[in-house]
Symmetry: C2
Subunit: 206 residues, 2 copies
C-alpha cells in the first residue's frame, strides 16, 4: 500500500480513535460501533466509517467493531506495535516533564536519551537519565539508530538543533519550541505549542 | 461577522501565521509575501492568500503584506489583543512546567491560578503560585471570571475535573490528559498529547 495515498487528515485521526478504543478496552468493553466511538471522540459516525474504510483490514461493519481487533489493526497501521526509542533535547521544565512522563508506555514510545547544552545541566539527572551534552547528540543518536526526537529547547536554538537531529538521522520531531522548523523532505514535524492551542479557541470567545 | 461562517480549519492556521509573523518582526523585517510566509510555515502561498481573503481586513495583496499590520489584524481576529487569564489544574511535572512557562507573555495569555487535589501539593509553591485545593476550583474560577484552563491531571480524573471547569464557567480547555473530553455545546477543547503527535509521524516510517 502506498502510504501517500491516504490523506494526511485521515491519518491524523487514527491515533485519536486508538486512544479512545484503548480506554474502552480498559473499562472492559469488548465491542463498539461507529456511533459510540464517534461520541467518544467528537467525530461523526459517518466520518469514522469512511476513515476506516480506507484500509482493507476492517471489512464491513455489521454488528459493530470488535475493540481488541480494531486496536491491533490501528496499532499496526500506525506502526506502533513496536516500541520506538525517542531522544529529548532541552532539559528545561518541559523537557524534564517529558523525560519523566509515564504516558508513553504502551503507546509505542520510550525516552532513552536526553540532551542539553547548559554545562550546569550536563551530567545531572533528569528522570532516570543522565543529561548528555548536545555536542554528543549527532554521534549518540546515529549510533543508537534513534529516529524520533522531542524538541524542548528555546525558540532561538530550535532550528540549529533541528539541523543536528536531521544530520543524526532523525525522521520525526515533536516540537515544543514556539517556532516553525524547516526540515528536508522525508523528515516530519508535529507541533505542540500551548499558545497556538489557546488561540484556536479564543477566536470563538467574546 | 458570523464566526461560524469561517471554516475551523482556516482558523486553526491563523495562530501559526501569527507566530511566524512575530518572529519575522523580531528579526527586523517590515514586509513579507504569501510566498515567504508560506515557506516559513510549510503552507502553500495560495492557501495563505485564500485563508486571509476570508477576512475583509487584509485587502488585495499588491506589493506584499506589511508585517506589523498583519500581526495587529490577526491578533484582533484571534481575540488576543487582550490578555486572557488561565487556570492550570494538576500540578504534576507538566502542570508545573506550564505554571512556570515563559512563552505565554505577548501571546495573549497569563497563568493566574493553579490547582491540585493532592494534600501534599496544596499550599505548596508552583512557579509564582500557591497551589490551591481543587475543591475551591469552581468558586475561585467563577469569582475571577476565568474562562480558559489547562488540564494536566491524570486521564482517570480528567473528565471529572472538566465537569468542574464547565460548572465554573470555563469555555476553553487545553487538555494535556491523554483522553477525549466530553463537553457541552459552547465549550471548546484542544488536545496536546505527545503520543498522538508521535503516532501521526510513525505511520510514515518504515
Amino acid at each position: 500500500m502506498d502510504k501517500r495515498a491516504i490523506p494526511d487528515i485521515i491519518i491524523s485521526r487514527l491515533p485519536i480513535y486508538l486512544r479512545a478504543l484503548r480506554l474502552m478496552k480498559t473499562v472492559g468493553k469488548l465491542t463498539t460501533s461507529s456511533q459510540e466511538l464517534g461520541a467518544a471522540v467528537g467525530i461523526s459516525a459517518a466520518q469514522i466509517r469512511k476513515d476506516l474504510s480506507q484500509f482493507d483490514k476492517f471489512g464491513k461493519q455489521g454488528t459493530g467493531y470488535e475493540i481488541a481487533f480494531l486496536i491491533d489493526q490501528l496499532r499496526e497501521i500506525l506502526n506502533v506495535v513496536r516500541v520506538w526509542d525517542v531522544a529529548v533535547v532541552g532539559m528545561g521544565d518541559m523537557g524534564h516533564a517529558l523525560a519523566r512522563y509515564q504516558g508513553f508506555s504502551d503507546r509505542g514510545f520510550r525516552v532513552v536519551m536526553v540532551f542539553d547544552s547548559d554545562p550546569a545541566k550536563i551530567g545531572g539527572q533528569a528522570g532516570n537519565f543522565i543529561v548528555r551534552d548536545v555536542k554528543e547528540l549527532v554521534t549518540a543518536i546515529r549510533d543508537s539508530g534513534i529516529r524520533l526526537a522531542m524538541l524542548c529547547v528555546p525558540a532561538v536554538a530550535a532550528q540549529e538543533v533541528t539541523h543536528l537531529l536531521v544530520e543524526a538521522g532523525v525522521k520525526a520531531i515533536l516540537n515544543y519550541a514556539p517556532i516553525n522548523l524547516s526540515v528536508p523532505p522525508g523528515v516530519r514535524v508535529q507541533y505542540l505549542d500551548p499558545s497556538i492551542g489557546l488561540q484556536r479557541m479564543t477566536y470563538y470567545m467574546d
